[in-house]
């Protein structure tokens, strides 16, 4: 794994006697989509505000794209884009004027701005919305506009705080399409969300509760850790053969007669290859894979964490 583009060590924030963030260690690999989850009051928002340099930590180190955020918070601003929970569009101005404003602060003007905005406008389908004021735009378009504004200056890291809250399913879908494109293009995306199924878009996940990190890893790692794993069902093929193949692929058989059921902590290509071969050989068989929902994973994770504390 290459050097993390976001790294914190012992990150702590105290408000008076209240410990909001307790010694959090994060390492976000570059060019990934990293999900940061936590309920209201878990310390999630406080952590993000420290990462982007608008809140000074009580203790600990933060490094973003090689910059020491604690000592030089201003320097990090050119490297990051941010989209907060609240709308960052000024009400008295049209979308276009908002773009000119934020771009101006980053020194982006004239032809370079035209080019960059033209690109983003097309990608985010904002042509119709350009001349409108934010208060007249639906939530889905405002959300895309907010993201576009955060990306104007080609930041290497994008911080998105609950970007899909209150937005319709279609816009959420388009939005994640854009995020995936960005990550594929080399941007690191640090995103928080309450919609656990969106974690499936992400390469890594961290969960904070009561100021402490209670889990960190790839979604599949967490699935393997907190649930029995994937459930494979094969119907309409000789059970003995199927069971044999599944066991050799690393599964645990839970039902040996038709339909054969088995579980496996995570789906590796080898296991999938076995399933593909089974389908080739037994063309009539019905083979299904049931993936544990992230909601279930997190319910168990939270329950375990609460029991431990």
């Amino acid at each position: 794994m290459s050097a993390p583009i976001i790294r914190t060590r012992g990150l702590t924030k105290r408000f008076g006697t209240f410990l909001a963030v307790d010694a959090v260690d994060l390492a976000v690999p570059p060019r990934t989509i990293f999900a940061f989850l936590g309920g209201n009051g878990s310390g999630k928002s406080t952590t993000i505000r420290m990462l982007i340099g608008i809140l000074a930590p009580t203790a600990g180190e933060i490094e973003v794209d090689g910059i020491d955020v604690v000592r030089r918070p201003r320097q990090v601003r050119d490297h990051i884009g941010y989209m907060g929970q609240r709308v960052s569009l000024y009400q008295g101005l049209t979308l276009r004027e908002n773009v000119e404003f934020y771009a101006g602060l980053f020194g982006l003007q004239g032809r370079r701005l035209e080019q960059r905005w033209g690109e983003l406008r097309e990608r985010f389908a904002l042509e119709q919305a350009e001349g409108e004021r934010p208060e007249n735009l639906p939530a889905g378009i405002r959300q895309r506009a907010g993201l576009a504004l955060g990306m104007l200056h080609h930041p290497r890291v994008l911080f998105l705080d609950e970007p899909t809250a209150g937005v319709d399913v279609r816009s959420r879908h388009l939005f994640w399409h854009v995020i995936r494109e960005e990550a594929a293009g080399g941007t690191t995306v640090f995103v928080t969300t309450h919609f656990l199924e969106e974690v499936e878009h992400c390469d890594r996940v961290a969960c904070i509760e009561g100021g402490k990190l209670i889990a960190e890893g790839a979604p599949d790692e967490l699935r393997a850790r907190f649930t029995p794993g994937y459930r494979i069902t094969v119907r309409g093929a000789p059970p003995a053969v199927v069971a044999g193949e599944l066991v050799s692929a690393g599964c645990t058989i839970t039902q040996a007669s038709d339909p054969v059921c088995a579980t496996i902590p995570s789906l590796r290509p080898a296991t999938l290859a076995v399933l593909a071969r089974l389908r080739e050989v037994f063309a009539q068989a019905e083979i299904t894979v049931e993936q544990p929902e992230m909601a279930e994973v997190f319910r168990r994770m939270l329950a375990a964490a609460r029991e431990a504390s």
């Binding site: 050119d78 907060g84 008295g92 004027e97 934020y102």
Partner: protein, 369 residues
């Protein structure tokens, strides 16, 4: 500090403000209304004060004196027959003051001697009493007599009265109020409007987004202060015009000097508005802080009540308020036509306070995320 970024911030502020007719309306209408209201309706001039007169001389001269007093329209003469009537009338509150013309008043005047007319009045109405006395003094002096005072009084030689008598020949309370109103508007209203406007912006979330851009705290502060300051500078000019055209009160001299110092002063009070809004979570909180902070200022700065009449410790407190010095400057220019040479101590104090306020505002905005 980047001029390009500052220009970007200013352009946005200008665009947003000019499109919001409601805010512009408030920013322009409220100061004008305050000027007209305070200058005209609430001026502390003497009108219809009930004056009990004990005329012990009953000569042509004394009758002429009383006619002069009546002619000003400031007093309502109530003839009485004894000192006791005056005392009782004052205690009962039926009269606001009393005048005793001594026997031999007319005869002494004719012989070139200076008779003494005694004035007695309700010292609880300090400001009124001061103006009334000054008026009576002038009228009495015009006849060749002098005015002596007796009874519960404010301290004599009150600079407010002397100043009014010397430099306010018609003893008009309106210029006094007008010059004070500038202080009220710029020290209180400006702070209030700014504090609320900025808190609302913070609540909307746009402030947080601004913090993640390369804009420095100084640029953000100037980006807010300068446009507001420009609007208030226009307000000051409008108020000067309103006071002149509607109330007949113009600065005695140095009008441009007055306007420019006032425009600079409002920038510093706007900085106070920024401090209140940076430390408040809601608009209601910002309003509360502003009002709490401004009430003592309005009371102590000499806007309505003379500072010399206050207990000594409070006078010291008053000296520490920039509003006090501004009002002193304002009155000096409007009533006396004082210029920069004479007023440099006040200007120095205002400059120092101003720098301090802007510095604290910068600091507060930088630390309060």
């Amino acid at each position: 500090m980047s001029w390009q970024r500052l220009r970007t911030l200013l352009r946005r502020e200008a665009r947003a403000s000019l499109r919001d007719p409601f805010t512009i309306g408030i920013l322009v209408a409220v100061p004008l209304l305050a000027m007209i209201l305070f200058g005209y309706v609430l001026s502390t001039e003497v009108r219809g004060l009930r004056l009990a007169v004990l005329d012990r001389d009953a000569s042509a001269a004394s009758r002429r004196l009383l006619a002069d007093i009546r002619a000003t329209g400031a007093f309502r003469i109530v003839p009485v027959r004894s000192r006791g009537d005056i005392e009782r009338g004052l205690v009962d509150g039926r009269i606001g003051g009393g005048l005793v013309v001594p026997p031999g008043f007319g005869r002494d005047l004719a012989r070139g001697r200076i008779p003494e007319v005694l004035a007695i009045y309700d010292g609880a109405e300090a400001v009124l009493a001061g103006n009334a006395e000054a008026w009576l003094r002038a009228i009495v002096a015009a006849t060749g007599a002098t005015l002596a005072t007796d009874g519960p009084l404010p301290p004599r030689g009150s600079p407010a009265v002397v100043t009014s008598a010397l430099f306010n020949p018609t003893l008009d309370g309106v210029p006094f109020m007008v010059s004070g109103t500038f202080g009220f508007v710029l020290s209180f209203l400006a702070v209030l409007i700014t504090a609320v406007a900025i808190v609302n912006e913070r609540l909307a979330g746009t402030f947080e987004q601004l913090q993640v851009t390369p804009a420095t705290t100084l640029e953000i502060l100037l980006g807010k202060l300068l446009p507001m300051g420009a609007i208030f500078a226009i307000d000051i000019a409008l108020m000067m015009l309103a006071a002149g055209l509607l109330l007949g009160v113009w600065p005695a001299a140095h009008a441009f000097f007055f306007w420019s110092v006032s425009a600079l002063y409002v920038l510093t009070t706007l900085a106070m508005g920024l401090i209140f809004s940076a430390t408040s979570a809601t608009a209601a909180e910002a309003v509360q802080k502003t009002v709490l902070f401004s009430i003592p200022i309005v009371q102590l700065s000499g806007f309505a009540f003379p500072i010399r009449n206050m207990p000594l410790p409070l006078q010291w407190v008053a000296e520490c308020l920039p509003a006090t010095h501004y009002i002193r400057f304002s009155r000096a220019v409007y009533l006396r036509g004082a210029g920069p040479l004479e007023l440099w101590p006040e200007l120095l104090v205002l400059a120092l306070f101003g720098a301090l306020q802007v510095g604290v505002a910068l600091r507060t905005m930088a630390t309060r995320a």
